[in-house]
Amino acid sequence: MVTGLGEAKHLAKDSELPDPPKQDVLRVYGMKFSPFTHRLKLVLAAKGVEHETVNINLVSKPSWYLSKNHRGEVPVIEINGNIIRDSIVTSQYVDDAYTGDKLTTTDPMKKAKESVLLLDNEKTIRGFIEAAYHTPDKQARGLMIMKEGLEKIDDFLKSTGSYFICGDKPGLTDYMIWPHLERIRALWPICITQFLFVEAYSRRMLRDSVVKQCQLPNSMHRKFAADCRKKKVNYDMVEEIEES
């Protein structure tokens, strides 16, 4: 059973089109360090869905990949000749299509509030992307935007008083939000600790078996961000021994 983020080599421009997956086999096209692929991987792990992974070199994309997703993005699910793209759409599909605990909140009011939070969280993501790709002296604006998003999560947890965004256990919205929190924790731990509820929430999430299954060491998150800044990404890097 392939779990976690998948250790498959990232296929690049010179690669050949892989054979399609066998009947009823779910294949994920992803990238090991992508927070969006991470979302889907968390959901697959939470539902215990066996799947295969094909990793894509996003800097030097295989030409055949554009026939899977004309936007060239990851993650994408391929199953029985069907292509599904977008991290949220694919994650929702897995929760809907497979048996086991439903990760999606059913109470309409709670679900609506989680949807609003997910929208507000786009600031966290936008700010993160901006800050991560700049050198420390130019990160201020990105960090500011990112903190506005984190504050929304903090306010949400404070107002609901629940252990996780979805309630007593992590649910779909928790897994949609976690990948960026994991990266923020690695790059700027202070940004997490300054928000009391987000900090406590992060510690709880880090004890979740699903989160642990898909977690990357902080050092790898930091190295990947640094490599992106220098435009020298090595997708197939192995874990370096560094203080976490």
Binding site: T90, D96, V116, L119
Partner: protein
């Protein structure tokens, strides 16, 4: 009470309306807003009685920001709770109220509809361009809208159903309809070039929820012309186009 609501658009300096009664659904909207129309279509399709308060989006009442911090429409108010965003409020209404479930349940179909909705965003872009006096910009808008319609044509061809959601209009149909309706008014030559989209356009026009929320082309054009003069720099913006309904409570100071 179905329809977009002809209630007067409240503006800066107006008195804050009293809260709605217990369990009463209130929609804060704008008569001609396509995003509000999404919610209105769902309310009509589910037969949900509701009251409407319309908001002047250029001179927003100060009190409105306490309902929706972003000051956007639509916002739903029920028993002191506010929900906003067109898709979130629409999904909420579909989930809470009895009657036909508009949301597709089959996981694969649902995923495909969500991807289509993402592609549909290309028809929304035309708005920016259609009111330009520059023919080159209008042409660009038309080309962008064609991409969205092309995606819909492809979807309908593969699905082989009358509507996006199946044999009857569903959630995704209602999310897409307001912008497609406007395309039909402002770029009338575009839709007929797509065989299945043309049929879809005509079939949607027969749906009772669509009919309940639809204005005449003339009224939409009248509103849009005011919008165009607004963009050209004129200060006035006439939201209260056509019939106007007054509120039962005082609104002006």
């Amino acid at each position: 009470m179905a329809g977009m609501g002809n209630e007067r658009h409240l503006e800066t300096g107006s008195i804050e309306p009293p809260p709605p009664g217990k369990d009463v659904v209130r929609v804060y909207g704008m008569k001609f807003c396509p995003y509000v129309q999404r919610l209105k279509l769902v309310l009509a399709a589910k037969g949900v009685k509701h009251e409407t308060i319309n908001i002047n989006l250029v001179r927003k009442p100060e009190w409105y920001f306490t309902k929706n911090p972003k000051g956007l429409v639509p916002t739903l108010e029920i028993n002191g709770i506010y929900i906003y965003e067109s898709d979130i409020t629409s999904a909420y209404i579909d989930a809470v109220y009895p009657g036909r479930k508009l949301m597709t349940e089959d996981p694969l179909k649902k995923a495909k509809e969500q991807m289509l909705l993402g592609d549909h965003a290309k028809t929304i872009a035309f708005y920016k361009y259609a009111c330009s006096s520059d023919p080159e910009v209008r042409k660009q808008g038309s080309e962008t809208a064609k991409l969205g319609l092309g995606a819909l044509e492809k979807f309908l061809k593969q699905a082989k159903t009358a509507f996006v959601c199946g044999d009857q209009p569903g959630f995704t149909d209602y999310m897409m309809w307001p912008h497609i309706e406007r395309l039909g008014v402002f770029l009338p030559d575009l839709i007929p070039t797509f065989e299945l989209v043309k049929k879809y356009f005509d079939d949607m026009g027969l749906d009772s929820a669509v009919k309940a929320c639809r204005f005449s082309n003339e009224l939409l054009i009248e509103f849009f012309n005011f919008e165009e003069s607004f963009r050209a720099g004129e200060k006035r913006r006439l939201y209260d186009c056509g019939e106007v309904v007054e509120y039962s409570f005082p609104t002006a100071k």
